[in-house]
């Protein structure tokens, strides 16, 4: 092709546009919430009973989509946490460690089955309180949560096979603190292996998303789980600190920001408490020239816009090989135009509400930073609902490793795009971060995949796919993305003491 044809060729690509706005407009398809049973006020769940907090303090939980108050949640003080730990200790010493492993497993199977029976109710509440689209709660969060209980139920009486040459013993009381991005799923990730391994639990859900953990407590009651085996203490940072600092907790499991993770690690120094941390990330998602390009674009979208980007393993740094960069970016922009941002309860919504006002401010601050740093911003035209916290899916083009928006975790639907030329270059850049949770590699060439996956310093590497989770598959990070694994056989280790 001549230089002139080449230019015309590029111009043709640049000018042509597809119309994604006037074709098929989907009418609102709201999921009904009439089926759902919610209390006006929730107490703490301690020793199998609903107990008022000692100081009688409560806080509101609101919908990030409508800004309406949904319910009042109890705020657990240090004294309440102490009660919960005592209940957990008592249950551990006198009941849970005495029940046969087989029977322990059967409780977990029951819990899994009941969650499946109540799937719709859980999905609606998760969406109402957290802001994620109902389609995601319904199709991913709830089934996966049930699956986690079902999977770990099966391990309870098989621990002798998990770690050759060692006897697997439970640890005692586990203190668990979970985030707001996958409230029910994170509760399942924490509670299921802990119980399967024979421990008892004191768990604190995130303060903006307490409800599905509390509904889970109702499931525990329905399943006949002995009192005190799982205790739910709702509250904010102070409640979490009380759990971390409590002397009779044997193990701490935390999922959340790297900053808080470091605080916790420091707090338990010298105490002999076991610790697992699942922290932040800034994953590299790498597209090679020989990738299945259309599917890679879908992978990019799944990687950063799924769950509003509130995913620790989000593919937030896109590396696209320079030869296909224009093509990929154009397809990506097209794809973004068909993403629907809106009411999380609408079955057609792809990107729901940002979890809180605070988080939205954080994201918007980063958008300003990115623009000020000179990155080119792209957002498709979106109409947001009148109330609620929303953010359009966003691209930042022409970025580099030195941009703040490329280095720092934004935890929103914001993708920073860089080009690269060779395998060595992209490996270096992908690993050039204090984080190491996940990474994505897109290429049709098998040997290149294994080369990349061997050298990427990340705990989860997705090849030709992204954001795939399974209870059988271990998840966790390198470096400042945390330590320890959740899921799979390796996910048992944090909850056992091997002798």
């Amino acid at each position: 092709m001549s230089k002139k044809q080449d230019k015309t060729q590029k111009a043709v690509i640049a000018d042509l546009a597809l119309d994604f706005s006037s074709g098929f407009i989907y009418e609102p398809a709201p999921e009904s919430s009439s089926h759902v049973k919610l209390e006006k006020q929730y107490e703490l769940f301690i020793d199998g009973k609903w107990v008022a907090p000692i100081d009688k303090k409560y806080f509101d939980t609101t919908s990030p989509a409508t800004e309406q108050v949904i319910s009042r949640i109890a705020e657990a003080s240090a004294a309440d946490v102490d009660k919960a730990v005592k209940a957990a200790r008592n249950a551990y010493e006198n009941v849970w460690s005495k029940i046969s492993a087989k029977e322990r497993g059967k409780y977990l199977f029951r819990i899994a089955r009941i969650i499946q029976e109540k799937a719709r109710e859980f999905a609606v509440i998760e969406t109402m309180e957290g802001g994620k689209p109902i389609r995601e709660s319904r199709d991913i969060d709830v089934p996966l949560a049930a699956n986690h209980f079902f999977y770990y139920a099966g391990w309870a009486d098989k621990l002798e096979y998990a770690f050759p040459g060692k006897k697997a013993n439970s640890i005692g009381v586990a203190g668990q603190i979970i985030p707001w991005n996958f409230p029910l799923l994170m509760a399942a990730w924490k509670i299921a292996p802990a119980l399967a391994a024979g421990n008892t639990v004191v768990l604190k859900p995130a303060e903006t998303t307490s409800l599905t953990a509390l509904k889970l407590a109702e499931v525990f009651q329905e399943a006949g789980l002995p009192n005190g085996v799982v205790n739910i203490v709702t509250g904010a940072g102070a409640t979490g600190a009380a759990i971390v600092n409590h002397p009779d907790v044997n193990k701490i499991a935390f999922t959340g920001s790297t900053d808080v993770g470091k605080i916790i690690q420091k707090a338990i120094a010298g105490t002999n408490k076991k610790l697992t941390l699942e922290l932040g990330g800034k994953a590299a998602n790498i597209i090679f020239e020989d990738a299945a390009i259309d599917q890679a674009v879908e992978g990019i979208v799944n990687g950063i816009f799924f769950n509003q980007g509130h995913v620790c393993c989000a593919g937030s740094r896109l590396f696209v090989q320079e030869g296909v960069a224009d093509k990929v970016i154009k397809k990506l922009k097209d794809r973004m135009k068909s993403l629907i941002v809106g009411d999380p309860m609408d079955k057609n919504t792809d990107i729901g509400a940002i979890n809180s006002k605070e988080q939205l401010k954080k994201i918007n601050d980063y958008l300003k930073i990115g623009v000020n740093e000179g990155a080119e911003i792209f957002q498709p035209a979106c109409t947001f609902p009148k109330k609620g916290y929303f953010c359009a899916p966003t691209l930042f083009l022409h970025t580099s490793q030195s941009h703040r928006i490329v280095q720092e975790e934004i935890f929103g639907p914001v993708l920073a795009i860089q080009t690269f030329r060779t395998v060595e270059e992209v490996l270096e850049k992908a690993n050039n971060t204090p984080y190491g949770l996940s990474a994505g590699v897109w290429t049709d060439k098998g040997s290149k995949i294994f080369n990349m996956t061997t050298k990427l310093k990340a705990g989860v590497v997705w090849a030709n796919t992204y954001n795939k989770f399974d209870p059988a598959s271990p998840f966790g990070g390198y470096k400042e993305s945390g330590m320890g694994r959740e899921g799979g056989l390796h996910g048992l280790l944090p909850y056992l003491s091997l002798s």
């Binding site: 098929f24 407009i25 398809a29 299945a292 879908e298």
Partner: protein, 303 residues
């Protein structure tokens, strides 16, 4: 890539990942299409149908009855659009043309030794010429799948180009017979090849074997069309055929076109359904939307 290419180079075709394609298709089916979106979608789908009869036992009477149905889907319910075309064997084209006179419904003829395509080129061209002379507005040809699977892409390319020439003013739809191509990579290759060789429309299937049209092959073909549009500015049409018997499925396909190619393709000029049972299912759904009651086939004509 330009439109004056004399042959097809498979190196220009990107790889396709099947698992990912299937996941994307599953997402399309989670779109909730309700109320006015549903009614408009159903009517749009109706207007996109190529009402088809391709049986050895087709007769003039049968074809006439089908044509009447094409023009009068359900007179009891006003506002229902007519179908886009009637699709028949070449020997039935004249009958169909006469029966459809006065309407804007096209006559499409299958040709080129449909459905197997196992005949020498001259026979296929004669078949095409005959259909065109009889008055066909559109020709649905089949590619030589055996040659394609042997890797003789130039043979297949030349064949399509020759049939395109024989079509004259008639539009050419190229049937890839995706059910025999086995992989999505092959579907993409065949799509790129057919488009370059002169297809006006690319079509999934003859409807004579299983599997016929599926969402994954359709998505791959739509993406081939999109890439071609971006490279040249030229639009190519798409037709999934066979196996789309329910309104629900037809609406999934429309969602797929909507989110892959956008509004420009959402009309019968650029997208068709090769179907027969679908029409009545759409009518039942439209009636249900109107009355609120689930319907029975007893109330809709079976032509």
């Amino acid at each position: 890539m330009t439109t004056t290419l004399k042959s097809y180079d498979p190196r220009f075709t990107p790889p396709v990942d099947q698992v990912s394609v299937e996941e994307r298709c599953a997402r399309f089916t989670t779109r909730s299409i309700k109320k006015s979106t549903k009614v408009n979608g159903l009517k749009l789908a109706m207007s996109m149908i190529d009402l088809t009869t391709l049986e050895g036992k087709d007769s003039e009477g049968k074809v006439r009855q089908l044509c009447y149905k094409a023009m009068h889907p359900h007179d009891a319910m006003p506002g229902v659009p007519q179908v886009a075309a009637v699709c028949v064997y070449p020997t039935m084209v004249k009958v169909a043309k006469k029966a459809l006179k006065g309407s804007s419904i096209n006559v499409a003829a299958v040709a080129t030794a449909f459905p197997s395509g196992m005949a020498p080129l001259q026979v296929k061209l004669d078949d095409t010429h005959y259909a065109v002379d009889e008055g066909a507005d559109e020709i649905d040809m089949v590619i030589s799948r055996g040659k394609f699977l042997q890797g003789e892409y130039n043979f297949v390319f030349d064949e399509i180009a020759a049939v395109k020439e024989a079509c004259g003013k008639a539009h050419l739809k190229v049937i890839l017979e995706t059910g025999e191509l086995s992989t999505l990579d092959n579907v993409r290759k065949a799509s790129d090849l057919a488009i370059l060789a002169g297809a006006d429309f690319i079509k999934t299937s003859t409807g004579k074997i299983q599997p016929a049209a599926t969402m994954p092959v359709t998505l791959v073909m739509l993406e081939a069309i999109r890439d071609y549009y971006y490279a040249t500015g030229k639009m190519i049409g798409m037709k999934p055929a066979g196996g789309i018997a329910t309104s629900k499925l037809a609406l999934h396909y429309l969602v797929m076109v909507n989110e892959t190619l956008g509004a420009q393709w959402l009309n019968p000029d650029w997208f068709r359904f090769g179907a027969s049972k679908l029409a009545n299912d759409i009518l039942m759904q439209l009636m249900k939307e109107q009355t609120g009651n689930y319907q029975s086939l007893n109330y809709f004509s079976n032509d």
